[in-house]
């Protein structure tokens, strides 16, 4: 056994210490003990669970163990929930069992569940911030890779597997090796109709789907500061698609204003103290990062994927790559396999790719601002293809209906459905049929992600709405002209 050296877990950095990054500060604030080989035991402030947690609970049962901190554990029914109805029983018995098992575990282990019938039900990465459960300075884990979303509020948040979920359930701690740091700076002003999804796909197409592997990303720069909290959530959500351990944005006035008054946020008497503490969560001016990338906001165009990885993304005015122009045989083979699966031709213009359906939803792009943007394009227009709009939470659904967005979607010919992961991963039964092509606001265009043989192009909500009204991949900007508030 390697000896373990206890360390001072004081969250406050002495003024004489060397400059620290935001991530360094988050890391230090959660250290309990560190081993000689670098493994560090970290305190977990929030464990989020969804139906996939059943493997972890099986491990708990095998050990006859109990949940260490039920008050810091929150469950969300999202991956398997039906989106067509909340009143009928779930027809598929295996899917029904998944939803029921989470209910049973919540009752048995006494943690708060945002279950199927809860008025605040929704996707974990939408509901966590929306309820004020996710706060700056926290360490948050969940058995879902898109847990990186929560870093948008200045928390250290990452996805883990079932064994680690079981470990957190039993101890409220997790062993981690400290990742390297990467700063991605986006300065300047984004063009109209360009959003966080375009930033994210631009970054991933440049650095690659494992370009940030082993790194904690900090997004910085004036264009990032200018993003709303919801847009920041979209950007941090996609960090995992660059292979990052997590993505984080320093909390600021925008963040504090977003959080004030949310159900689980600090109460009025504690809020100012909390803001004072959260305001220290910034990278020191002279802090250094292991790697740096910079993008000019003006150069970011509306972007869509053409292949089977989020790194296979190009601006909408580009054409499908030609394997014959690839730098080496391996790359050529990769492009050929992707085009074969996607049924595309080398050199084909992206705007000539017609789609069979659209999906607007998921933890990436189903918040109220996303739905407003899609509705701005769809208002008074008809979709040429069938499609589905699934709000990120039941709270978002209610808000959208109060604003009349549901009518815009219905009148355009799209289905307005209940909240859940739905067609992003297809395990509730909402799938894209084999060979069909979907313009989707989701996060993964992997082979078979939306169903076996399904062809997915990922893009922003504005671009998905543009694909709906034109029937093909299209630049959203002309369709948005005069419609942006």
């Amino acid at each position: 056994m390697v000896p373990i050296a206890p360390i001072d877990p004081s969250p406050d950095t002495p003024s004489t210490a060397s400059p620290k990054t935001l991530f360094d500060k988050l890391w230090s604030a959660h250290r309990i003990v560190q081993r000689e080989n670098g493994d560090t035991l970290l305190w977990v402030d929030r464990l989020y669970l969804h139906e996939g947690s059943f493997h972890a609970f099986e491990q708990l049962v095998q050990r006859n163990a109990s949940v260490a901190e039920p008050g810091l554990v929150f469950g969300f029914a999202d991956h398997y929930v039906p989106t067509h109805s909340r009143t009928k029983n779930i027809a598929n018995p295996e899917i029904a069992r998944m939803v029921r098992t989470l209910n049973d575990n919540a009752l048995r282990h006494r943690f708060r569940l945002f279950g199927l019938q809860d008025p605040s039900q929704g996707i974990v990465h939408v509901v966590g911030p929306e309820q004020g459960l996710t706060l700056p300075g926290m360490l948050i884990v969940c058995g879902d890779s898109h847990t990186s979303t929560h870093g948008a509020l200045g928390s250290y948040a990452f996805g883990i597997g079932a064994s680690e979920v079981a470990h957190v359930l039993m101890t409220q701690t997790i062993w981690q090796r400290k990742p390297a740091t990467m700063r991605i700076s986006v300065d300047g002003k984004l063009g109209p109709g360009i959003g966080a999804k375009d930033i994210a796909l631009s970054i991933i197409s440049r650095i690659g789907a494992n370009g940030a592997q082993g790194h904690a990303i900090e997004y910085a720069g004036s264009a990032i500061r200018g993003l709303s909290v919801e847009a920041r959530l979209t950007l941090c959500n996609m960090s995992i698609e660059a292979g990052a351990r997590c993505g984080v944005i320093a909390p600021d006035e925008e963040t504090f204003a977003y959080l004030r008054g949310r159900p689980y946020a600090p109460t009025t008497d504690q809020f100012d103290t909390a803001v004072d503490r959260w305001s220290r969560l910034v990278s020191d001016p002279d802090a250094t990062f292991d790697r740096e990338h910079a993008l000019a906001a003006e150069q970011i165009a509306p972007i869509v994927t053409w292949g089977t990885s989020p790194e296979d993304a190009l601006p909408i005015d580009a054409s499908v790559p030609d394997p014959a122009s690839a730098p080496d045989a391996e790359r050529a083979g990769y492009i050929r396999a992707a085009l074969d699966y996607m049924d595309l031709s080398p050199g084909q213009r992206l705007t000539d790719i017609s789609v069979d359906q659209v999906f607007i939803g998921s933890c990436t792009n189903a918040r109220i601002e996303d739905l407003r943007l899609a509705a701005a394009i769809l208002a008074g227009r008809k979709s040429r293809v069938p499609g589905r709009v699934s709000p990120g939470s039941s709270v978002v659904k209610q808000q959208a209906e109060e604003e009349g967005l549901d009518r815009i979607f219905w009148e355009a010919g799209l289905d307005w459905v209940e909240s859940g992961c739905s067609m992003c991963v297809g395990i509730n039964g909402d799938t894209v049929a084999p060979g069909k092509r979907c313009a989707s606001t989701t996060n993964r265009n992997f082979k078979g992600r939306q169903g076996p043989g399904a062809r997915t192009h990922i893009m922003s909500p504005a671009m998905a709405a543009a694909a709906a009204v034109t029937g093909h991949l299209a630049d959203a900007r002309p369709l948005l002209a005069g419609r942006l508030k």
Partner: protein, 204 residues
């Protein structure tokens, strides 16, 4: 957890980059319990066509590699979803080690927790090994975690793995027991955190 020290086995090359965990185990199998058998679900949509017939070209379907214990993969092997069942499916099929230029972080972590070695090696070394195996499908490969070497015939190369993962695999540690030995430090930390940032616990 089962220890990993040294393994000699048939190795199957799988050259594609970005083999994500959705390829390893498609999402529709995520509700399958491990006891019901996940090995048969491994690479389902790459191995089988829509009628359930095997694609004869998929490497693991070829007779020489059907019983592989090692996979030789491409860059970013296991990227994407955090599903630990992707590691279960590999193990239950009989794979104990994946050699690749790089791995998805969460997949690699899940692998280590289950005694599956993610051996990261130089892309050129991995490509050469894959080419050797394609020429001589019967050759076995030895992976030695103590010395962090991969050997195939007369050729050998080093692989890298974080020290803490190496320790864990070599010793087969039970992490929960290790953590529980720090119960006092955990309790001290918890009290301190509750005092300094009570809003983190207010609903607890």
């Amino acid at each position: 957890m089962e220890k990993f020290t040294r393994l000699t086995a048939i190795a199957c090359p799988l050259r594609l980059a970005n083999i994500d965990t959705d390829q390893l185990l498609p999402a529709r199998f995520l509700k399958v319990s491990r006891a019901a058998g996940l090995g048969r679900c491994l690479f389902q949509d790459l191995r089988l066509d829509s009628k359930g017939q095997e694609h004869p070209d998929f490497p693991l379907n070829r007779p020489a590699w059907r019983n592989a214990g090692i996979l030789v993969g491409g860059a970013n092997f296991g990227g994407g979803s955090s599903r630990e069942a992707a590691a279960y499916a590999l193990l239950d099929y009989g794979i104990r080690c994946v050699i690749a230029p790089s791995f998805g972080d969460i997949f690699a972590q899940n692998s280590v927790k289950n005694g599956l070695l993610p051996a990261a090696a130089e892309a050129a070394d991995v490509a050469e090994l894959a080419a050797t195996l394609e020429r001589n499908p019967e050759s076995s490969v030895t992976v030695d975690l103590e010395t962090q070497t991969v050997t195939c015939g007369n050729a050998s190369f080093q692989f890298s793995i974080p020290g803490s993962w190496r320790d864990q695999l070599l010793n087969g540690w039970d992490e929960i027991d290790l953590t529980r030995s720090h119960q006092d430090e955990i309790e001290t930390f918890r009290r301190m955190r509750r005092k300094s940032e009570p809003w983190l616990f207010t609903r607890g």
